[in-house]
């Protein structure tokens, strides 16, 4: 049995809401830096990571300072990661899929010519 990872020890999923209803969706399994995690169908990769307690998404290019979720709509680039081997994917705009391999790029970001 695989143990699924939760850094914060508590899920951030909203259970009940006075205005919105969040449909129960199928669970999706993925890995982040090799650690198995669970998200749900309809999550973006970044949203699923946040629910798993992951706050540190990348490092700044010059001074290598930690960066987290900032804009969530594809403007800022601070959530870019390597997804299924492809670099610089905007994880806030990319829907999670079963079996995805997600890796933070931290200090190994390259900009292809």
């Amino acid at each position: 049995m695989i143990e699924y990872y939760l850094e914060s020890g508590e899920e951030m999923r909203i259970e009940e809401h006075p205005i919105l209803s969040f449909k129960k969706q199928n669970q999706l399994h993925f890995t982040f830096n090799g650690r198995p995690m669970i998200g749900i169908e309809g999550d973006t990769i970044a949203a699923a990571l946040h629910d798993n307690g992951i706050m540190h998404y990348s490092n700044s290019l010059k001074s290598h300072r930690p960066r987290g979720f900032y804009c969530a709509i594809g403007n800022c680039g601070s959530c870019n990661m390597k997804v299924n081997g492809v670099e610089n994917i905007k994880t806030c705009m990319t829907l999670l899929a079963e079996g995805m391999v997600v890796e933070s790029e931290l200090d190994e970001v390259t900009i292809d010519a």
């Binding site: 009940e16 809401h17 006075p18 205005i19």
Partner: protein
């Protein structure tokens, strides 16, 4: 004051209340202290008791001869700035909009809250209205001692 702290003081609140003898019947109290482009209170009133006019920035004016205290404006106001008030014997009864969880049940005793967010006293939940018309804004009828007429604004779960 309200511009700096976000709540109306009693003096300002009183300008929005009719005389107490009018409140023997339920009447809408419209706490719209600013000209903003908005008119659902006017268009939602089944008795044409609320007047804004063609410039939707005007503040609403209520005709207490026409207002029945039905509460249609309470859940229609996007600013949650309208309540219905009534005085019966030694208690004040209010219909207020509520958009949080949990929702109280009839008969519950919750905290009565003032405009600054402070606990005033106990509030008895008299009834709870929630249907397709209120569109997920619950209208709670609660009662408090009469002395809190100008202070009460909402209820809060005691837990």
């Amino acid at each position: 004051m309200i511009q700096k702290f976000g709540y109306a003081d009693t003096e300002l609140v009183k300008t929005k209340f009719p005389n107490e003898d009018i409140l023997v019947r339920p009447k809408a109290i419209i706490e719209c202290y600013q000209e903003i482009p908005c008119n659902p209170c006017e268009t939602s009133c089944p008795f044409n008791a609320i007047m804004i006019g063609s410039d939707i920035n005007h503040q609403p004016v209520i005709d207490y001869n026409l207002c029945t205290g039905c509460g249609a404006c309470v859940y229609s106001c996007p600013g949650l700035a309208i309540m219905v008030a009534q005085l019966k014997q030694d208690r004040a009864y209010f219909k207020v909009p509520y958009e949080l969880l949990p929702v109280p049940k009839k008969g519950d005793i919750w905290h009565a809250i003032n405009r600054q967010g402070e606990v005033l006293c106990d509030a008895k939940i008299e009834s709870v209205l929630q249907n397709s018309k209120t569109d997920r804004t619950v209208v709670i009828t609660a009662s408090v001692p009469k002395q809190y007429l100008f202070d009460f604004i909402t209820v809060r779960n005691k837990v």
